[in-house]
Symmetry: C3
Subunit: 314 residues, 3 copies
């Protein structure tokens, strides 16, 4: 594996899941593998879980992680080819990526979408530029349109709680939020769940259709209660509109997942990538009850990152 930016294949997905589970059983199994190797974790947007879980994953492999919060550290990058840099940006991504590539063995990067310029977001421009100019393997810590480390952690979690069921029913349901939220988690969850061969139903208010690039093969069902029937896994997530790009079209509280919504899905496990807005996206009763897998997903972030870094080390 060279880069880790998107879902590649069921085979690779399965390999990563298996490796992650081996690391979960024995975190320092490959402590010698990364000795003398360095991963630079570059955040153009803030992070808590991703930052810490990636640091731990690297340390478990004997690697040295170094974190760069470029947003906080006031390092505005110029993205435009040929720009005359007489304004606010202090360094061109070409130059920064080149330098960072010479400092690290692997670069892990987070860059959120603008949610205003759809074309630029959809092309995941910043990631492309880093890959092009850094000359080293790149791991996505969430891009404008994907969050593959989260999705890998989610797949590990579903594997752990599938009870041997071959074709569990997986539902991705939109939940209300007060802010315009990126599509990355929803896109990647759909991409990976379908890619790994699960049945996926997606439910949301009309107007919240995700980019078909990620959802092709899923069942779209606008009726949330119908979608939730007999679900084995319910993934709750907010996202802003893709068609009316970046807009909040609804904050309808009836979409917030509660126990009542799961009357016809009595064995359903509930997932969320965190941070979760309690009693807005998801009710306390679910988060504090036995259905919730959210803490398991967060813990699996370590082993997802560890499997990815390990595979890149080769």
């Amino acid at each position: 594996m060279k880069h880790f930016i998107r879902f590649e294949s069921k085979e690779l997905g399965q390999e990563l899941i298996d490796l992650a589970r081996a690391y979960k059983a024995t975190p320092r199994l490959d402590l010698a593998k990364g000795q003398g190797k360095r991963v630079g974790c570059i955040f153009l947007n803030p992070s808590l879980r991703t930052r810490v879980s990636t640091q731990i994953a690297a340390q478990n492999l004997g690697m040295e992680p170094i974190v760069l919060n470029m947003d906080k550290e006031g390092w505005a990058l110029e993205m435009k080819e040929g720009a005359i840099m007489n304004k606010g940006t202090v360094e061109h991504i070409k130059d920064a990526a080149g330098v960072l590539g010479s400092y690290f063995d692997i670069l892990a990067i987070r860059a959120f979408p603008s949610l205003t310029n759809r074309d630029e977001d959809v092309n995941d421009f910043i990631f492309g530029q880093f890959v092009k100019y850094c000359g080293k393997p790149v791991v996505s810590l969430e891009s404008a349109i994907r969050h593959p480390l989260q999705s890998l952690a989610d797949q590990i979690t579903m594997k752990e709680y599938s009870d041997g069921k071959k074709k569990p029913k997986v539902v991705l349901t939109w939940g209300p939020h007060i802010k315009a939220i990126p599509h990355a988690v929803a896109n990647s969850f759909s991409e990976w769940t379908l890619g790994m061969g699960y049945d996926l139903t997606i439910t949301h208010p009309e107007g919240y259709e995700l980019d078909e690039v990620f959802t092709k093969g899923a069942t779209l069902e606008y009726n949330q209660s119908k979608a939730l029937e007999d679900a084995d896994f319910v993934y709750v997530k907010n996202w802003s509109s893709f068609n009316d790009y970046g807009k909040i079209l609804s904050t309808d509280p009836s979409w917030m997942l509660t126990e009542k919504h799961l009357k016809k899905a009595k064995n359903a496990k509930v997932m969320h990538c965190l941070p979760v807005r309690r009693n807005l996206e998801l009710s306390d009763e679910i988060l504090d009850g036995s259905r919730s897998l959210v803490q398991k997903q967060a813990e699996n972030r370590i082993y997802a990152a560890q499997a990815v870094l390990s595979s890149i080390l080769g």
Copy 2:
């Protein structure tokens, strides 16, 4: 020892002091003890000395410290049970504490008081929530009402400079400041000094009485010069009013400790937790003279933290 949040007993205090002094003599004595263990240092408020000394303490034990500046990194935590999170807070302390608990072996946390809501501060609510939800040992890096690592460092320092005197006279004196300062250092210094069996006199302008929970057994003396007579150790500290909660009642410059104040305490050593406002709380002549133990206290912060982490590792 499970958590380190308050003074527990003279026996445990003595054990920690002895262990800290052993580490001061041989910092890497127990380098193997913490191999593969991680401490998460979570700052809801900024820190310099505490952050660095705790990192070093952890490294001296072979542990991997990871620092999270949650204030700076824009991660506003929701504290209220049952809150409908449709405002500024992005994650509930329950969820954050649970995740961090799954990432670390020990959590070390700093959270300052509001100085506006006395009941909430007095109950040290944030610490209670972390302990409740993280499922791992918690070390206080200063709470709303206590700063036990500072106090342990102070006790180590007093031990080093007691010249074998069994009952040195210890005085805690209020000093002026321009800001409303928390009570944590003064509370803990009193709690530990009394707990370790010293005679303690506390002096301050009327209205600055500390919470009796921490000062029971100390002599209260409003006359500063009388209080300072024959003192062996003088601890200078500002705090805001506890009764008129969080208010500045006096900035009377005559309370600033100078050599003149110590005419009748010629052997007195002077202590302060730093950072100190020079020529406001304490004069240059004292800080730059031979009485000052402030640099020794700061250095002992490393070994205090190391003894605490080591005892928790068991």
Copy 3:
């Protein structure tokens, strides 16, 4: 070597260049040398390259680097002797330097000039205070007037690209910028280049003369095209006026280095310390072409820092 703050001698310069090149060939050559040693990297001003390259240099020597961003972490230091600290500063440099000295084996510090108070800047006051009060070796990560780690990296780079030429012609040319930029890089480049025995020509618009302390022995040539003739190395850098202190006297775009400027210097290699403002200081065609050494310089920052830390460890 005790401190690393300025150019000392050709002999020491040569030693450091040789050691750096040995580390470049075998980064972990001296991995055991720094075991159990700590370097505190203190930034009073932000940094990307310097921070990361110094961390990596320390790790390559087995040292533990700890970074303190004192600007970001809101720790305003008082610099004035005898100050009555009843305003914004929270800690005196005396106390902070003393504590940090007791925490670390080596202190590495960055502090920019005010560009308003020339006398204070020229005396490099902050560095003097740190050296005076910390009691440990101090490494400059860029001071008000010098950036010796950059200059050492530049010398390594020139050595690598000299093609055995004994006396290459080196030109330092001013380039336009929209902000008032410190003199540190230009000063140090001149100090080191002359100190190492190169011929140096400096060119800039009138009014941009650098402090003669650093440029004595260089040829000053106001005509940029004449200066560039037959150059082997062209170092591009903006700086604000030294005589009309901190002012921007010109933003004349004709001073921006382009291929056209190098018609009579066909073998010239072009250098810049980065970050570079593309198409303002230097054109894309040069930066993206085969003349550019800017990425090499940045990479050599690691080995420059490693040689310096290693020499201080002894």
